[in-house]
Amino acid sequence: MDKVYPSVDAAVADIPDGASIAVSGFFTAGTPIPLIQALARQGAKNLTIICMQLGPGNADIQQLVLNNQLKKAICNYPLYRSASRGANEPFEQAVRAGKVEVEVYPMGTFVEKLRAAGAGLAGFYTPTGVGTVVERGKEKRRFGDQEYLLELALKPDYAFVYAYQADRMGNLVCRKTARNYNPEMAAAARITIAAVENIVEPGTLEPDMIHVPCVYVQRVVKVDRPVYFPTID
């Protein structure tokens, strides 16, 4: 079973208008920039992007806004910290103009919604967000002496993930804090596309050290390791 695609463009070619796509990466770490750039070239419209942020540490994703490809963002840290900086950014301007829908979740809820989808669960009760704007419109239920919110699973059509190493069957090995959302997003999505720095033959990776088992990954594509200084400013 060889899941390797010849290019990032080939790997994203079939993404239709209206698709939902989870994009991994914690700010700069483990962000599959070449896949985002390929999606901007490919041009699918009315997309729902599920990603931690829509700008800080990931400026490329804003090309989707400039191309009018983005319908909705589901995120947990969407904005630049600096209000003056953010006011000049395409995503924040689109939000202010009412051109994009936005759902913001606490980070733990955001990732658990994906984990639940990958694990075949409808949702879960979490204490996070009780008594805040996050609880609006959600079932609140008391277990013991604590209140919890019902949060529902989030199942994307696609996931763009990032790995340091993969074998041709799609087993992934991540590096350090570049692992972040990769395991949960890969499991949640119907079709997971992994941008990978190094592709090896099956049997080469240390089987006890796989971070994303191959069954969660449908496509693998080689990318060059980017070189950059990590920052969100």
């Binding site: 980070m107 658990e112 996050v134 395991p183």
Partner: protein, 229 residues
């Protein structure tokens, strides 16, 4: 309360962080938020404290220097850091399971406002003018709810001179009734069921000085002292 108050000179951000570090116990696991809380890491080097970074790391070390930056190794504020012995990495899902699961003995967080009941408001400033459900929640709500002890480290008043310790938060809440201790440039304040107890004041200040920039009525500790480092 609204009368013109003299400009109160407090301790530096670094000393706020130092004071917070004295609250952290050896043998514990701690998460540090963005801003002044991040500076606490400078004061716990060599101590038996595990730092968790919610992007998926235990035993995060000091900031990386020019020669040893690894772009795959950052803290939750996207700053390059280093590893300490015992380092381990995990996914975001596991990281927040760990946080909600009660494995953070303490979380040190910044705040825009703290109420007398320990309500925390820190993720959204309405002055930004966005819809009130849109802002950078990040990991703050999970940490505020999941950590066994929430310590707020912040300046006592805003840049425009408004009190940040208030009777009721007017900014969007991060979590209700979670803050246990407030450390500012002017004071150390314990949040108790009876109200806010003023424990320590910055050098040269009096309890009245601190009260003049604090909205709720402070209970003065019988052991009130200068800030103890």
């Amino acid at each position: 309360m609204e009368k013109e108050v003299k400009k109160l000179k407090g301790i530096s951000r670094e000393l706020i962080a130092l004071r917070v570090s004295r609250e952290l116990e050896d043998g514990t696991c701690v998460n540090l938020g963005i801003g002044i809380p991040t500076l606490v890491s400078n004061w716990i080097e060599g101590r038996d404290i595990i730092l968790q970074a919610e992007n998926g790391m235990l035993n995060a070390g000091p900031f990386a220097t020019e020669g040893n930056i690894d772009q795959d190794l950052i803290n939750a504020s996207c700053q390059p850091v280093t590893e300490l012995p015992g380092v381990c990495y995990f996914s975001s899902g596991e990281s927040f399971a760990m946080i909600r699961g009660g494995y953070m003995d303490a979380a040190v967080l910044g705040a825009l406002q703290v109420s007398e009941k320990g309500d925390l408001a820190g993720w959204s400033n309405p002055a930004r003018g966005l819809p009130e459900d849109i802002g950078n929640i990040g990991g703050s709500m999970d940490l505020a709810v999941g950590a066994k002890k929430v310590i707020v480290a912040m300046n006592h008043i805003t840049n425009t001179g408004e009190a940040k310790i208030v009777k009721q938060c007017t900014y969007p809440l991060t979590a209700k009734e979670v803050v246990k201790l407030i450390v500012t440039d002017l004071a150390v304040i314990d949040v108790t069921p009876k109200g806010l107890v003023l424990l320590e004041v910055a050098p040269g200040l009096t309890a009245e000085d601190v009260q003049s920039v604090t909205k709720p009525k402070l209970i003065i500790s019988p052991d009130l002292s200068e800030i103890q480092f």
